[in-house]
Amino acid sequence: MQSEFAVELRDVVKKFITPEGNELIAVDHVNMQIRNGEFFSMLGSSGCGKTTSLRMIAGFEWPTEGDIYIEGEPQGHRPPFLRPVNTVFQSYALFQHMTVFQNVAFGLEMEHATKSEIKSRVGRALEMVRLSSMDRRRPSQLSGGQQQRVALARALVKTPDVLLLDEPLGALDLKLRKEMQLELKALQQQVGITFIYVTHDQEEALTMSDRIAVMSYGRVLQVGPAVEIYERPTSRFVADFIGESNFFDGTVKAVNQKKAVVTIPAWKQDLQATLVADAAAGDAVVVSVRPEKIQISEQPKTNDNCLEGVVFNSTYIGSDTHLFLDVGGQQVKAWEQNRVSSLDPHLFYRKDQKLWLTFPAENVLVLPKE
């Protein structure tokens, strides 16, 4: 490959004019570098700019400012049919008036491939998605999952450098969706091309991606592998959007390399914490602790960061118990795995029970206050 990156967005801005005449900034100075052969996801809720960014890579929209680079080449106003990328659409966008075979063959026809070449390549593509027997059928005769696989085959048969997927699993039911997630991941590793995947489902992104870009209001908040996004969020939004977290306002009291001491005014207590970014004493910050990291015990502990709380609600999920406690007037969520395999009610947490919560320092993250 000529370039270091498969796809690059350099300072891309996209503005729309709404029907009322207002200016809407869908993508706000986004920079992204997507590596060759990786499974890259753009994650965010609707309106965050992920789909718009994807469409600009595909060529259905052009950036207002900045440019898209594919394999190092700037794309400018190049139309979609001249770009070496292919898209799998959210609605599948299958050609209803053509058979499955004709759908998949369409892209090859556009390349002026010979009949025999088309036949063999389409055959292989359908095999890859396990739909070889359906080649004569029409899209209306297929189930949602099958249609989705046709859309996939149709895009992959052209062996593009990059495959763009716009929330392709959204219309499928839960079980099918989970199956397809694994299949897509396996497919990507098998074929080896770059996948750029757009989704609002964080679990999906975490499961499949090599790296995730979390987006909000047209901006990229954080890019990194799943573990990094989850364990070391760089902003409150990311910590809140991915998984669940407790947040407490505080002031930095002291800093020692990667560690800090933060005063929580609500509790008039100090917490030992870990810094995600640089901070100085006196900074106003937000402290984030994930519920599953909190250690729950019925006896007080002598460690740092041990606080007393009272249970006001508890939910039994089966594999876990979710506890909601009142700690010094603040609501704290704490999850615990159910290791106990008993029906004895005395072994379960009860309302108004007094418990001791320990926040391990490496799991107390100091985030900038926005």
């Binding site: 292919n86 898209t87 050609f95 209803q96 369409f106 892209g107």
Partner: protein
Amino acid sequence: MSEKKPPVWLRIYTFLVYLYIYIPIIILVIFSFNNQKLNITWKGFTTQWYAVLFHDRLVQLATRNTLIIALVSTAIATIIGTLAALAMQRYRFPGYDASEALMYIPIVIPEVVMGISLLVFFVLLNMKLGLVTITLSHIAFNIPFVALVVRARLHGYDNSIDEAAMDLGANEMTTFWRVTLPTIMPGILAGAMLALTLSLDDYVITYFTAGPGSTTLPLRVFSMVRFMVTPEVNALSTIWVLIVFVILLIGQLARNRRA
């Protein structure tokens, strides 16, 4: 709607209305076999009037003219109307509202007014009134109807299939021919059918824009009804009804098969 049976009075009423609709036609058909020239009272069964009809030169001429006008005007109006429908449904441009209003004018003005205005127009241009002027007029009132029908069918169009085609390497022209057009073809055909029918049936506008030499079937029927009322008119009418019936039946069966 609900599965409950409708009240008795409604069923009787419906039956009576259908009777009101069909009795004239039935009488028409029956009297086409009447063995009496004046066709006032029934005098016996005969098929002679169908033979007369068959040999009626004027009717043959009128039929030929009607078909030519209908086919030509439908073809042109369908193309223009479809393009217009695409424009209205997918794009925003200056003059959109004016274009839309323009499209509705032929539908909402009385046919008389449209007829005489076209007459004035052609006379002013010193054009000879005949098949050409009739066809030009038919195109004018057909365009909006085609556009309306196609537009209604375009409502649920999934734009992403056009994008998919382009994504797979088809340029705008190829996308239009290979994807857009085939997908909206049922709508286009429906619009064309409507235009064809309106053209075949038109009396008023044709009346004003036809010259002395050109006659169409509706015009011919009118003068036959007005001036020369023999059962031949009934025969012509019966055949017309039969053809309509068969065409509609085919259309209905085709729709049932697809459903």
